[in-house]
Each structure stands twice: as structure tokens, then as C-alpha cells.
Symmetry: C2
Subunit: 425 residues, 2 copies
């Protein structure tokens, strides 16, 4: 196949072939230069959904995406760098707690994030409910914050893997999102470009996650670990449960409030347990011997939070915006809560205004869902299970619609479901 003929490249993948490294390089250069048309890239993407990519081929593909922009060099900041990425879940405020916690223990965490989309919230959207806090930082500030404080949570610069932005927009309109190699290369190109030495992946599995099936989640995790290693980033993964929301809050300000509880040594047990489990892996990857639970209990993590928020213009003492209670969903029977569907709660919070349907939409700081009773709780018929909060009552009906059938009640205490299903890498 000639590296200069896009039709031959598409045909090779269509027929199940492996694209040579130099062909992939040429393809990305030509695509970004406008010499390969969107329709040609779309056909190639669908052929990749169909045929997949071999590990070395995918590493080259990801490398070409990284090389479409800059790869940050964080050497010389004086601390080991380690980041985490979650594939997205409902009530997933782990990063808000984990970044200050791991930073407090001596690592530097370069958490450069995208915005949330759909029913899983975005870390930046949550933090933006804090008065004054800003997500956009120049790279000089990113580096300074990492060196001085050991962490930063900010918007990923447009210079990081810009090819991913174009490819993702194309995948979104051509039904080519659902492909493990394409998902893996999208995530890993941005994380590798941000310059971290090590990376923990939290791959969510369950109704509220992008991956609803354990086998697919495991393949995605393994694929991303291989990509990290191929590009010199020590990478590990946890497969974690996402059938029910994490913690009790799903939204923006409500999740910040819950994060502050956990940072203060309190808060829901599941959130604290997952934060500690993830911190342990990150510290191991960074070569740091420390006890994360202690740093939650003794105020070190909270102190680091105040520093990090303050450095980006946020007032850690300002009251968070609060919505009104707009509706309550009650238990349809007496018994134990056996099921509280993560996706339904996520969609309800989204419809209340916590999430966006399209990139660029604004989100509501106050909208969200509070889970008063979670699986394992004993409830009386008519007792509150969910409280819907926010500022816009016109959105309540659509949110309640999403919650139809989301709550299961049974006569017996459900068996405890493990939060961390599997540890890889």
C-alpha cells in the first residue's frame, strides 16, 4: 500500500490488515493538513470499529495522536509525577479528593481534564461551583503549581493531542465512539501528552458506566495499560463497580460538599474506600511509602485542598451554591434497597442541569440528586430515597421520568457488592 493513497489505507484496514507505522504517521499528518477528507477518516474509523487494531499498531496510532501536539516535559519539578483517569461514573468525585491527598503525600498530580458530557459529570464542572475557581491555566502555572504544591486540576490545553479533539468530534457524529482501541487511544494520547510518569486508570463497569460489561472493561484496561507502557508511562488499572452512584451526591456543588466531608475524615464509606484504594496504587506507582487514610484523618489532605483551590482563585471558605429541594422520590415498598440504578440517577442529575448534552453548553452548579438511601439501607414504604435539588422546577418531570424503575426494594439485605472488582498492572 502506498502511504500516499488514503483509499488504499482504508481498504487495508477494511480487509483486516495492520497499518504500518509510517502509514499511520502519514495519515495523521495528511488528515490534519486537510489532505485526507473527513469522509475518508470516517470510513477508516468504522473499519477500525470492525477490524480493531493490533497492539503495536495502536501504539503507533496513539503516538501519532500525541505528536499532533506537544508532550509536556515535567522532569525537574522535583517530585515523582502520577495521575489518574476515570472512564466516568455517576457521583464520581474521586479526583477532587485524590489529587490533594496524593499531593499531600509527596507526589505531583498533573490532573489535566476535559469537560463532562452526558450523564457522567466532569471534575472541572464540579470545581467550578466553588466561587472564584478557574479551570484554565497557562502551562507555566501548571508547572509552578505542580512544583510548589504537588498538584493541579485544570482544563487540558488545546496543544495536548489536538488530533484527538478532531477525531472525537468525527467519531461522535459517525457512530464510531464504541471501539476499544479508539477509546483507549483517545484517553491515553491526552494522558501521555500531559507528561506524567505514571498513571492509574479507574475503569468503571456497570449500568452507570460507559462499559457495562466486565469483559469489555477488562479489555479496555489492558489495552490502555499496554499503551501507557509502550509510551514509557507506568500504568495500572482498577476495575471498579458503577451499578449504583458513588457516595450520596450526584451533581456539581453537592459533590464538592461531599468531597469536603471525605477530605475531613468523614463522608460516605464507599467514597473513602475507593479514594484510599486509588491513592495506594498511585503512591506505589510513584515509589512513595505513605498511609493515605491517615492523611484524610489528620487534616493534611484538607490543607492541600485549600492550597490547591486557593491557587486557582477559589475561596475554600466561601459557602457553596445551594439549590432548593425540587422533588423527593420515596420507597415504593418497605424492605431493603436492593438496587439504585447509577445510570438513572446520572441521567436525572443531567436532566436537572448538572450535565451538558453538547460541548460548550453551560451547567447548573446547584442541580443534582442526593441519594438518601442506598443499596443495603432498610426503608419504610414512603420514606425518601432520592432528593432532587436545583433551581429549575421545569426540569423535574424529565428527571423523574429517568428515575422510573431505578429503585429496587426487597425483603432481604442484598449481598455486599465489591467496589474494586479487579486490579491490573
Amino acid at each position: 500500500m502506498s502511504a500516499l493513497d488514503p483509499v488504499a489505507v482504508i481498504a487495508a484496514k477494511r480487509d483486516g490488515g495492520r497499518l504500518p507505522d509510517e502509514t499511520i504517521r502519514w495519515l495523521f499528518d495528511a488528515y490534519l493538513a486537510g489532505q485526507v477528507a473527513e469522509e475518508q477518516m470516517a470510513a477508516l474509523l468504522m473499519a477500525i470499529v470492525w477490524r480493531g487494531m493490533e497492539p503495536a499498531e495502536l501504539a503507533a496510532w496513539t503516538g501519532a495522536m500525541i505528536d499532533s501536539g506537544v508532550r509536556l516535559d515535567l522532569s525537574g519539578i522535583g517530585r515523582p509525577t502520577v495521575d489518574k483517569h476515570s472512564t466516568g461514573g455517576v457521583g464520581d468525585k474521586i479526583s477532587l479528593i485524590l489529587v490533594p491527598l496524593v499531593a499531600a503525600l509527596g507526589a505531583a498530580v498533573p490532573q489535566l481534564s476535559g469537560r463532562g458530557l452526558g450523564h457522567t459529570g466532569g471534575t472541572l464542572d464540579k470545581l467550578e461551583s466553588i466561587p472564584g475557581w478557574r479551570a484554565d491555566l497557562p502551562l507555566s502555572e501548571v508547572r509552578a503549581s505542580l512544583a510548589e504544591l504537588g498538584g493541579v486540576i485544570c482544563a487540558a490545553s488545546a496543544d495536548l493531542a489536538p488530533a484527538d479533539r478532531r477525531l472525537y468530534a468525527l467519531r461522535d457524529v459517525t457512530a464510531t465512539v464504541e471501539s476499544i482501541p479508539l477509546i483507549a487511544s483517545s484517553i491515553m494520547s491526552k494522558k501521555i501528552a500531559e507528561g506524567t510518569e505514571a498513571l492509574l486508570l479507574d475503569v468503571k463497569v456497570g449500568s452507570g458506566a460507559f462499559m457495562t460489561e466486565l469483559g469489555a472493561a477488562r479489555r479496555l484496561a489492558e489495552t490502555m495499560i499496554a499503551l501507557g507502557e509502550a509510551h514509557g508511562v507506568r500504568t495500572a488499572a482498577l476495575l471498579t463497580a458503577m451499578d449504583t452512584p458513588l457516595g450520596e451526591a450526584a451533581g456539581n456543588a453537592v459533590e464538592v460538599a461531599e468531597s469536603l466531608e471525605v477530605l475531613s475524615g468523614r463522608g460516605p464509606a464507599d467514597v473513602r474506600a475507593l479514594v484510599v484504594a486509588e491513592a495506594e496504587v498511585m503512591l506505589r506507582l510513584a515509589g512513595i511509602d505513605a498511609d493515605p487514610a491517615a492523611a484524610l484523618d489528620d487534616g493534611r489532605a484538607l490543607a492541600k485542598w485549600r492550597e490547591l483551590i486557593g491557587r486557582q482563585g477559589g475561596d475554600p471558605d466561601a459557602p457553596l451554591p445551594a439549590g432548593r429541594e425540587l422533588a423527593v422520590v420515596t420507597a415504593p415498598a418497605s424492605g431493603y434497597v436492593t438496587r439504585l440504578d447509577a445510570r438513572a440517577v446520572g441521567v436525572a442529575a443531567w436532566r436537572l442541569g448538572a450535565g451538558r448534552a453538547r460541548p460548550g453548553d453551560s451547567v447548573s452548579a446547584t442541580a443534582g440528586v442526593l441519594c438518601v438511601a442506598k443499596p443495603g439501607a432498610e426503608v419504610e414504604k414512603g420514606a425518601p430515597v432520592l432528593r432532587l435539588v436545583g433551581d429549575d422546577p421545569s426540569r423535574v418531570d424529565a428527571a423523574l421520568d429517568a428515575l422510573r424503575g431505578a429503585i429496587g426494594i426487597g425483603p432481604e439485605l442484598p449481598p455486599p457488592a465489591p467496589l474494586v472488582i479487579e486490579s491490573l498492572g
Copy 2:
């Protein structure tokens, strides 16, 4: 799936689903109106290459392509209409002979053609080597010629299945040509739109054909027959051999000259045999009881040719343009010719100038390859096997390159290969 969401339509096909009829209608309307983007149609086409289409789904797809333009109504011309379509071969001048032959016997043959592309020549290109002959006719002339003479060979109007033109251009740049349902719908939408009551398909199989494999050719033929029947066109197919060129000439004027030989009751036996076989099927489809071989021998077919050519401005008595002999390929050993590769000969003729690489390129009237010795012929080492003719000596080297290894010589007479492999419908 909502009929109004192209991403859901693509995803449904990606996941192996059947597109409902009303979704297909909506899709074509939206695509032609610019509401479905080229990249979305490209992704859908690749998903169709992958997943295929069910017969009823493909009939609806083809119906939407037909309805993107006009379907001619040829009722009232006073003769039964029957057309033929060849999937394209090297030296395939059958239509030039078949149309006047079947017209002479009482049917009306509306042969509305596209231009040739690649190594298989186009009927219009061949006829345009006749001084004065023009391919473009208004529809009123098409109808008049059919009613008065019983035939017409002309360029297909842009009003026939215009969606196919757009889809084909997109398939060409996205490596989505090679799909039996997409090939079948492209051919049949145009043939059904031209208004014929019956249709014979000549599906070529072998090295010089689009389909090199019998199984795939049979599936294509069966798919097209089903589409014809679904849209009320009596359809039959012959699977015919295309491992070696048809007749002795491949090119434009040289094929017209050979056609005149066959129309005069002479000419190569293979061409005559295939013309007669195809005419028999067409006459059967048209409900006409007649002997085509007799009409070749007694001058009726030739007289009809003169009428048809003259009606479109051609001078049947004018000498055809003739090229020079540019090179001769000789037998590499003494023995029997066991193989003369159709594709190699087609590519050589194409490179000499007989065919075009891109739509809109002009072609040479004189360029071509004459097969002096075909499989079964006994030759001495050094005796001529192929003569390359044309006007442009600068093209000879590339043509000779294509012919490397194209000729096989062996000690024994090869077994005769059947020309008509299978008859369907």
C-alpha cells in the same frame, strides 16, 4: 431508532441491524438535502460493507436511489423492452452487437450506459470512435429511437438515479466499492430507472472481471435478480468467463471493427457464441421467438446497426480511425497458448490510452491490444501473440510492463473453458 438521527441509523447498521424502509427513505432525502454529512454516509457505507443488507432492506435502499430521480415510462412504444448490463470485461464489445441484433428481431433495447473506468472499456467510448456518432440524446430522442428502430445506445441521463452518482463518488474515495449489496443497488437503480421491462445481466468472473471468484459473482447475480424482481423488472443473469479477453481486440475502434465482423456473420467464435447466448435469453425475456444466429448471418443485424448508428449522427460507412502498430509481444516458447491474462491485456490497453483513470478523462480512439494468438492456439517461439496499437509511443513501456507474465505457453492443448458458466433466473 429515530428516523431523524443519522448517528442512530449508523449505529444500528454497525451493530448488524436492519434499517427500516422509512428510515432508508428519510436517510436518502436528508443526504441529498445536505442534512446528513458525507462523513456520516461514509461511515454508514463502511458499516454496510461490514454487515451487509437483507434482501428487503436492499430493495428499499435501491428504491430510494431510484426515487432520487425519474423512472422512465417506456410503455406505449409498441414493443417489449429488454436491456442487458455487463459488469465489465476486457474486449467486451457484446452490447455493440447485441443491441442491433435484438432490436432487429422485434424487441426494444434501451441501453442507457455510463462511461468506462479503469481497465474495462465502456460501450460509449467504443462507439465514439465512429466519426460523427454522439452519445448524448434528449429523452424524447431515446423514446423515438426505441419506438421507430427498437434500440438506442446512449449516455444515461443525469436524471436517472442521481443518488447513485453521489454515492458512487463517495464510495470511490472511501474504499466502500467492494460490497455486493452496494454494487447491486448501484447497477440496478440505474437499470430499473431507465424503464426496461426485462433485463439480462452478464456477470463476468475471472482475472479480468470485477468479480474474480465464482461464489461472489453468483451472489452478486442473485442479489441483482432479486432487486429486479422486487421492482417489477423480469431479470435473468449469465455468469460468463473473463479470464482471457473476449474476441481478439481490446480497445475502442478495434472493438468496433471486430463487432462489425460479427454483425456480418463472421468474427471470433467466442464473441459470436456469447452474443447468441445473450440474445436468446433477452428474446425469451421479451417473449419473442426468433433465431439470433440467422439474423447475424442474413444481414438483418448489420442493417439495424447502420440505422442505429446513423440515427445518432454516426457515419456507418466512414473508415474507423486506425493507430500504428507500436509493439509486438511474442511467444516466449513454442507450444500451445495456455493462458492470456485478461486483466493484463485490459491494463495494457488502458495504459495505451483506451481507458480512463478518472471520470472526465478523454480516451484514445485508436489505442488497443490485438490478440493474435489466444488460449488453444499453437505458436512457435518468437511468433507474435499480441500487437499493441495506438498513436502514442510514449505509453508503450508502461503497457508492456502490464503484460509481463501475461502469456502462458505449454506443451499440451489446454482443455476448452466454457464461456457461459451458469445461467440464473
